[in-house]
């Protein structure tokens, strides 16, 4: 039986429709891999005692895709055995409990994909131009990731 080479691939998508864990994990599954690791970022219903009605995301889309692809390149340098990487991020309105981001990584053994998934979400929060607005009952707030590499720095 001829196996395809299963060339390592990065799947990066920003979309307004509901994200699918099945779809994202199936993208990275490989016959050469014994592990698929996943991170799902979901929306919480409260922040500092205020009720969150929903979230709204916007992005500098072209640059966000480029920055996520840079993250994928860095993953492959740090963990060369990683096979496929998928990062799907939702834009627009995201209702409570639905996923804002899903990251999936496959590798032959579990350590690399688990570490790579953590690296992906941490670095995404530090460097990808995507913004979240929390909508409360009477007001809203633009959130700021503590990981943001320039915020709170002296200018």
């Amino acid at each position: 039986m001829e196996e395809s080479e299963d060339v390592p691939k990065d799947f990066v998508k920003l979309k307004c429709e509901k994200l699918s864990v099945d779809e994202v994990s199936e993208l990275v599954v490989s016959p050469y891999c014994g592990a698929v690791s996943l991170f799902i970022g979901t929306t919480r219903n409260n922040f500092e005692g205020k009720k969150v009605i929903h979230l709204e995301y916007e992005a500098y889309t072209s640059m966000a895709e480029t920055e996520i692809k840079k993250i994928c390149r860095n993953v492959r340098q740090k963990w060369p055995s990683v096979k496929h990487i998928a990062v799907h991020h939702r834009l627009g309105v995201v209702p409570i409990t639905e996923a804002s981001v899903i990251i999936a990584v496959s590798s032959p053994h579990r350590t690399e994909s688990l570490e790579a998934v953590m690296y992906c979400i941490n670095t995404l929060k530090a460097s990808v131009p995507i913004w979240k607005k929390e909508i409360y009952e009477d007001e809203y707030s633009w959130k700021e990731n503590k990981e943001c590499f320039w915020a709170n720095s002296e200018n």
């Binding site: 640059m63 480029t66 995404l124 131009p129 913004w131 990731n145 943001c148 915020a151 200018n155």
Partner: protein, 90 residues
Amino acid sequence: TVTLCGTTVSVLYFARSAELAGLRCETLSVPREITSLQLWEEIVKVHPRLAVIRDQVIFAVRQEYVHLGDQLLVLQPGDEVAIIPPISGG
């Protein structure tokens, strides 16, 4: 004011900066060579309400991050300059 050796760039506004400027994109004539801080000051002349976020923002020029400061930019016609408030993806 007369702008010598100027060029026209596309300025993109996101999140809070889009709310303060009241728009998402526009073209702006600026000097071809300009520091990132001077570029910020040119933009604030057009949209004074942006001044309140000066300490929180960074630029993306041709999709590379640039801090507000002394870095000299060499701008080409049609370059994208984005105002990037603190991010919150993920």
